[in-house]
């Protein structure tokens, strides 16, 4: 199970990479494995400003649909459009080419609530 130590995590199995006030967000290796073959990533919240815990998109595997929850309040400034044609990148490279959105955070103090790699590892029992 790949859980990079330089990323932050959520209980919803998302990873967060913070650079300045911009957070890049995707789903974890564990999450993609549980979902199975991902066939569609839908993000219709580009340019919208959402609160933490709001739904920013949906990831569809062959058998299931899962909502994607925004871990940090802010504006959705970028969607990884490569996923429109190649959603399977979320399976093959969840922390790299499979990233989903970038958020301009409005409240950096929220990052303190995110989990470390060790905490996330404990959560999933890896």
């Amino acid at each position: 199970m790949n859980i990079p130590s330089d990323l932050k995590y959520t209980k919803d199995h998302e990873w967060v990479k913070i650079e300045g006030d911009v957070a890049t967000i995707g789903i974890t290796d564990f999450a993609q494995g549980e979902l199975g073959d991902i066939v569609y990533v839908e993000v219709e919240t580009l340019d919208e400003t959402l609160d933490a815990e709001e739904i920013f998109g949906t990831v569809e595997a062959v058998k299931t649909v899962s909502d994607l929850f925004l871990p940090l309040s802010g504006e959705i400034i970028e969607f990884n459009e490569a996923l429109e044609d190649e959603p399977e990148k979320v399976n093959s490279d969840p922390y790299g080419d499979g990233w989903m959105i970038k958020v301009k955070c409005s409240d950096m103090s929220q990052t303190e609530a995110l989990m470390s790699a060790d905490d996330y590892k404990a959560l999933i029992g890896a």
């Binding site: 199975g36 073959d37 066939v39 569809e60 062959v62 649909v65």
Partner: protein
């Protein structure tokens, strides 16, 4: 939760196991898309031992079957199988099933796992003719070996010429070192192949020998997730989704297994429905735009008014687009009709098509 005789085998192969119809079943091994493609292009094997098997025998066996079954079992000869359904008294369907004529006065009914108890009670309640009934579900296993290379890959395992067994025919004979199994040219994938019925004590040997014999042909074990995408690409109904206690066989497009050559449960009403036309119909549709229809999503008209419901939907691995089945009023059911599928907050345009999706 019950196990099949192969549950530990599936776990050892790395399958993801999920509860399904009361059984721990393998939903996928390697991944649904690769498993789907394996069946379409080569050969794959499914453990579908959760399915139920009833033996009906004796001099009144056919009489009972004709009462409960919509299809005409008098047309069966030994070695032939027939797809059918069990209508209920209220216009709906108790279950869909396959009926095998094993011998004179001996038939095997293969029913859905989730309906074993319901079907048993239903058939028992209709058995006022004194047919003998036995539930073999707990004793028998079922493997489906499906795909265009199934015949070639499996021929070394039997003395019977597999290419001689026609669709919906079967032989009782030797397979993979077991003397008597049912080798049936049936399946739920649309890619050809066989289903093998054997005793639980025999299934591990057969499973292993099939994987061995199929190795050169690229055989893989296939989970229930791919079974669902494969059947949906053909438009085969799934009980509990596309047909149930409230859907009639006529509106579900199962008129071809509803034969009014004899009386059966609710046949008068179904005959009238067939003559006058159904109010609604089960349609097959493809999305015109990106998106994936799912069971339970609303079907809406151009004004956003709900006109029906999706009963099955998926992203078709073969076609790369969203496909589904659902009920709409007959006026919307013509091929090429335009409908919309309500996917979250979007009404995504879709077109009614003629089955199958995958040709």
């Amino acid at each position: 939760m019950k196990n099949t005789a192969l549950t530990t085998t599936h776990k050892a192969l790395g399958a993801k196991i999920v509860p399904f119809a009361g059984y721990n079943m393998p939903v996928q091994y390697e991944g649904v898309n690769i498993e789907h493609e394996t069946v379409r292009k080569a050969v794959g094997m499914f453990d579908v031992s959760h399915m139920g098997e009833f033996l009906i025998e004796g001099e009144h066996a056919l009489e009972l079957i004709q009462k409960i079954s919509s299809n005409d079992a008098s047309k069966l000869t030994i070695g032939k199988a027939q797809y059918s359904c069990l209508p209920n008294d209220d216009g709906g369907i108790v279950d869909d099933l396959i009926i095998y004529k094993l011998k004179e006065e001996q038939y095997l009914l293969v029913v859905n796992a989730g309906n074993i108890e319901k079907d048993w009670n239903w058939i028992t309640s209709k058995n006022d003719v004194g047919a003998n009934m036995r539930d073999l579900s707990e004793d028998y296993s079922l493997l489906a070996i499906q795909g265009p290379k199934a015949i070639e890959a499996m021929q070394s395992l039997t003395s019977h010429d597999l290419s001689e067994i026609k669709f919906y025919n079967f032989v009782v004979g030797d397979f993979a070192g077991i003397d008597y199994v049912i080798i049936s040219a049936t399946g739920y994938t649309g890619s050809g192949g066989f289903e093998i019925y054997c005793k639980n004590s025999e299934v591990k040997q057969i499973w292993d020998k099939v994987l061995e014999a199929g190795a050169d042909f690229g055989i893989k074990p296939i989970g229930l997730a791919a079974r669902d995408t494969l059947r949906l690409e053909m438009g085969y109904c799934l009980y509990g989704n596309d047909i149930d206690d409230t859907t009639s066989p006529i509106e579900a497009g199962l008129g071809w297994i509803t034969k009014f050559t004899k009386d059966f449960t609710n046949s008068e009403a179904l005959k009238a429905e067939k003559e006058h036309g159904s109010q609604r119909k089960l349609i097959a549709f493809e999305l015109d735009e990106r998106g994936i229809p799912r069971h339970g999503y609303d079907i809406v008209d151009g004004n956003g008014k709900t006109i029906g419901v999706v009963t099955s939907g998926t992203m078709s691995p073969s076609l790369g687009k969203g496909i589904g089945l659902g009920y709409v009023p007959t006026v919307f059911a013509e091929v090429n009709s335009k409908i919309n599928i309500q996917i979250r907050k979007n009404a995504v345009p879709a077109t009614v098509i003629k089955l199958p999706f995958y040709k």
